[in-house]
Amino acid sequence: MTATTMRAAGTAAQGEKQPRVQNTGKRLGAVAVRLGAIATFALILIYFALFAPGFLSSFNLINVVEQSAILGVLAFGMAVVIIGGGSNVTEGGIDLSIAANMGLCAAVFATVLQAGYPDAVALLAAIACGVAVGALNAIAVVGLGILPLLASLAVMNIAAGAELTLTQNTVVGAASPLLAFLVSGSFLGISALAWCLILFSAIMLVFIHKTTFGLRLYAVGGHPEAARAAGINVPLHVGFTYLFSGFCAAIASVLAVSRLSASTPGSGEMLLSVLAAALLGTVFSRRLVPTIGGTLLSVLFIGFLANGFQLLNVSSYWVNGVQGALILLVVAVTSFARGPEASR
């Protein structure tokens, strides 16, 4: 399983076509960072494999992939927003509403199922809801020119409030053939939820790294003025990223409902992990921009970290802190390799 994801990440890095950087030293530095990040990842995995009982069992590995599915889908949505909006943190692309949106979609999905409608209707309703919230972001950012950080913050409040209003802050139970399939279905010994992450990653890899649209998205995020001069419809592309992150929130909500057989309050807490995964993923790319492979790697990394600690019987209270410290470590190394002028 790990081999597949590693390979997937490898193709992602190779698939990134870009002009040669003149400065050899800097290029070597970036390579060192990428290798360093992957080496850190590998070392921690090796440590767990040696000392955490049962870590390497296929059951456990698939379990981690399964647990990472929700975070993964959300992180892809966030990564696409950051790709299209640029990675400037206060003015660039960011979608703070993605986790709250997932909560709202889950509530819609579970409520529609409980009202007796079939899976297809519930799924459509969830996706419509997610994309509608995404459209609100898109209108605010593209149409009105509100800073993404700010616009999505307001939308986050709206979505979280709407979820609370819909569910009255309670657990809405849900059961359906689709959910049953997601929980218990399996193919080639890999469960349906894990397949969801694998397939979604594969589609995203092709979509972002192998299509003209993906390349244009990077152009828009990297240098909007240049992209406009080159004839790319910048607002269209930026607007799309928010619709897409809304779509990702809807997909993730279905996975979340299937895992817990219910929609539960409190999904907004995932926001920080999603941000961490999407931003941490940038260190796996040569130009230090979000990539699908890098995002997937960091999602799995976060998943393995929590899982390894659990198996080592380390208190779960440590997990957040170690996750935070690792983000800082990886990013510090990155910005050193970037050179002094890029650090600003």
């Binding site: 943190v89 206060t90 609100l136 605010a140 149409g143 009105l144 020119g145 509100i146 800073l147 950080l149 700010l150 616009a151 913050l153 307001a154 939308v155 986050m156 409040n157 709206i158 979505a159 979280a160 409030g161 709407a162 609370l164 209003t165 009255q168 802050n169 920080l272 941000l275 961490a276 931003l279 208190s315 209270y317 440590w318 997990v319 957040n320 802190g321 170690v322 996750q323 935070g324 410290a325 983000i327 800082l328 990013v331 510090a332 910005s335 050193f336 970037r338 002094p340 650090s343 600003r344």
Partner: protein
């Protein structure tokens, strides 16, 4: 905008510009008027006092800290950690029988330590403020969980500690409650620092033109460090006020300030033509959020609808301000 353009602008355009700049003020006044009519209790002294002490003071102090940080072009996601650290250390020291002054001092130092950590990460290790403070936020959450065996609150309602808390939160000078006096002091200090001092100009320059600030010979790392430490100190003050008001330390409670404070600061930026954060703007943003929360409660909206209401309102204020400005350009 040059003078000739100003004079040639039509009346409608000028009205649009006025609304774009003062949409927060107009909204604030309109909302106050609405609640004053809709709820008989809104304009009573007791209610306004309640809004000021319970909804405004603490959020405003955190938002002032964020105003400095955002002025410098950064962001601080770890404000909640600074609040919690001050609160935790203060309450734990009181629980162990130490004096109030000692507890407050060490509590504030704990918050400053968070700021120093942020400053080191940002200026020495060159980590972007967003990621650095995100990392500190995670670490701070773990620290609190480990220190309180998973998030057990500490309540000190009565006795010696209770008296110490009362001395902070329940006293007043010339009829003004102590927390409000603390807020006024913070406002004056931050206003002078940010808008009337050399330090403030350096901070503004860093935020508006980081490259130019650097090449002009500003000691960017030193100023940046002061920015994050100052923000953490303000959050620490909030932490002390928070634990004194609720007479307890509840782990991870500081995070509730983060999004409101960011929202208030950015709502405040709509006041300035260059969209820069200002002390006055931030305070208006805080007042707007506080009044809406209180007013919706008074007219009987439940907590869930309040959140939707605030989200929609903030969205509309931003939409009007940004939208009109864009239409004019």
């Amino acid at each position: 905008m040059s003078v000739s353009q100003e004079t040639s602008a039509s009346g409608a355009q000028r009205l649009g510009g006025f609304i774009a700049s003062y949409s927060v003020v107009i909204t604030f006044l309109a909302i106050c008027l609405f609640f004053a009519v809709a709820s008989p209790t809104f304009l009573t002294g007791a209610n306004l006092y309640n809004v000021l002490v319970n909804n405004v003071v603490m959020l405003a102090i955190v938002a002032l800290g964020l105003t400095i940080v955002i002025s410098s072009g950064g962001i601080d996601l770890s404000v909640g950690v600074s609040v919690d650290m001050a609160s935790m250390v203060f309450v734990m020291l009181l629980a162990a029988g130490y004096g109030g002054v000692f507890g407050v001092t060490v509590g504030l130092l704990a918050a400053v330590a968070v700021g120093v950590l942020n400053a080191i990460l940002i200026t020495r290790l060159k980590i972007s403020p967003f990621l650095a403070t995100l990392g500190v936020l995670f670490i701070g959450q773990s620290t609190q969980q480990l220190a309180t065996s998973g998030g057990q609150p500490i309540y000190l309602i009565t006795g010696y500690a209770g008296d110490q808390f009362n001395a902070i939160a329940r006293t007043s000078l010339f009829g003004v409650p102590t927390p409000v006096l603390v807020l006024i002091a913070c406002i004056v200090v931050v206003y002078l620092l940010l808008h009337r001092s050399v330090f403030g100009r350096a901070v503004q320059a860093m935020g508006a033109q980081p490259g130019v600030a650097w090449y002009s010979g500003l000691a960017v790392p030193r100023q940046q460090s002061l920015v994050y430490i100052g923000c953490a100190l303000l959050c620490g003050i909030t932490g002390i006020l928070l634990s004194a008001t609720v007479k307890s330390y509840v782990p991870l409670s500081g995070n509730a300030f983060l999004l409101d404070a960011i929202g208030a600061t950015f709502i405040g930026t709509t006041l300035s033509a260059e969209r820069r954060p200002t002390v006055i703007g931030t305070l208006l943003g805080v007042l707007l959020l506080a009044v809406v929360k209180n007013g919706l409660l008074l007219i009987g909206w439940n907590f869930y609808w309040q959140q939707v209401g605030i989200g929609v309102l903030v969205f509309l204020v931003l939409a009007v301000s940004f939208g009109l400005r864009r239409a004019r350009q």
